[in-house]
Amino acid sequence: MANLVTRLKRVGLPRLIVHLSVLLIVILWLIPTLGILVTSIRDKDQITTSGWWTAFSSSTQTSAGRLGDPSSAKQDGANYVITGSVFEEGQGGTVRAFGVRVQDPAAFPAGEPADLGEGETLTIESDGSYVYTKTAPFEGSRGKRIYLTVATPPEFTLTNYQTVLQGEGIGQAFINSLTVTIPATIIPILIAAFAAYALSWMSFPGRALIIAMVVGLIVVPLQMSLIPLLRLYNEVGNFFGTSSKTYAGIWLAHTAFGMPLAIYLLRNYIAGLPKEIIESARVDGASDFEIFVKIVLPLSFPALASFAIFQFLWVWNDLLIAIVFLGTGRDQLVLTGSLNALLGSRGGNWEILTASAFVTIIVPLLVFFGLQRYLVRGLLAGSVKGG
């Protein structure tokens, strides 16, 4: 491999171009996810006024304000002076520029005395304190109108997460997703492993046919199953006088839909185990059940792990089966379903959508980065099922 690389390097593209193109690709692939991550921790008002890519620099806003009343002026020699701060109590930021006419709100830079004419001079420091002097007494009853360009420092908050987890039902949906996913990941493994063992190490008539059927069923679209199963579930629900939308129903559905791929992946692996081990166990008088439990199952751990990750990601990320086989009540709505509902009801509230989306994708991402090795191995083992 290393040799191949050096040879390619000798004849291939200049290295710098390769580095730059890969860097570009990585940035392109990363930016969309980064966008919602950054947005989800931004202040809700800042999200709507500026792009998330500006979140780390200060955001500038133009606002209007008033200086102090003429009555607060003090006499200082020949001049009359008003002092104070343009910011109200609790407000903060950095003044970049100011102006006295709405047409030109950033006429003067902060920190430098501005000559306003008629003997008036106004200096606004960047921290908001100002000195307003006039060579004659101030007139009128109200303070002078001013316009400010204020830069507010980047502000990050976890409020959005608090809102979605409690107020928008995402916390409950998270639990619901776990309730669906964990049994729907573990149960198929056991069933598929037994079947895979039978299809690899036991001989019986019809074996080749069943293997062919399993391979064929891998690609059967889910859409083919939906209508008859929906009817079947309704009939079963009516028969027992219960709802047709139950967790047990979706566990079985996910178990069955994951079954062809599970059997296929596990059979490929189990059939490749060394023949000698299994035959010597048989000679020693072990039954097939014992061979499976004591020898095959422990040896197949990598394949079982690969499939478990697939199934976990697939079930966690599934939307179609969840909206068909589960109800839309809070006690049954999973994360993908909630996110889909929020897209309808909170279409413009990006602080809610991004935080919810991030809660939805964080678990698969952790699984992905933690167990990537097994995922890749599973992919390479042959086939993959798509949503």
Partner: protein, 337 residues
Amino acid sequence: MISQIVSAVGVMIVGVFACALYYWLSDKILNLALPVRDGDVTQASRNLNRRAVVRPWLFLGPALLLLGIYLVYPVIATFILSFYDRSGQTFVGLSNYRWAFFDAGFRQSIFNNILWLAVVPAACTFFGLVIAVLTDRIWWGNIAKSIVFMPMAISFVGASVIWKFIYEYRGAADNQIGLLNAIVTSLGGDPQVWISMPFWNNFFLMVILIWIQTGFAMVILSAALRGIPEETIEAAVIDGANGWQIFWKIMVPQIWGTIAVVWTTITILVLKVFDIVLTMTNGQWDTMVLANLMFDWMFRGGGDSGRSAVIALVIMAAVTPIMVWNIRQANRDAGGH
């Protein structure tokens, strides 16, 4: 909330335990029913043979039952339902098929699906191959691969939110908070409502699937590239081939089989694409695809199982050639054992 977790864990333990118990118990019962420790040697050997006949079916039983109920039976039932009316009670012959043939919405969906099929598998395979070749040559290639591979873990719904934010539109007077419109306006263009732009919006939805699936193509193709024998490349180098020629004339032809696998896998995925369209547009602005149309008819106005079944069968028909090819391939592999 806590009680739900407890019950989920409980059910999981009970379920797994029940599964294990089934296999253990059925094995025990089989052994008791057909004993081999009797004095009668012929009876014992007959029982041993009978055990060998029954046991595979005990192991396969639960799996076959699930496959039968959830996949085999529904395929047949859907086929039959396609000849019945909306409630599945009255036989209507080919009228659902006739409806599909003349329905504008159906044709729109077919057209869009073909568009998706033409673009997404090709784009994923192309980008996957290019990224695989490029990342194999640099020291931080594995990090880059991880990042490109990462969207595979993200749900289609999550990815839709991510990209909807990129396509977000604000009026021309406002600050654009969607990345795409911000780029367009900073280049002097006018902001656009990308996802309601007929025809082109299909491509904006496709980008999402390409973003997700390129990592898959990259991983598989990268492994195939590493499997190429070094001698073939060495020989090409000696003969004075340049990098471009080595890539197209030496490397690509040797991984055609893998390219085909990647292409067909993504093709199947594209035929079933549902979540992205549902969450981005719900089929509005001419973005409807077959899976969404089928879902629509399943529930629209109380549901029309006949028309819905016809649409499902169209997806099934499109998948069938790949299915047949896979089965033949698997049989050939099994034969070579």
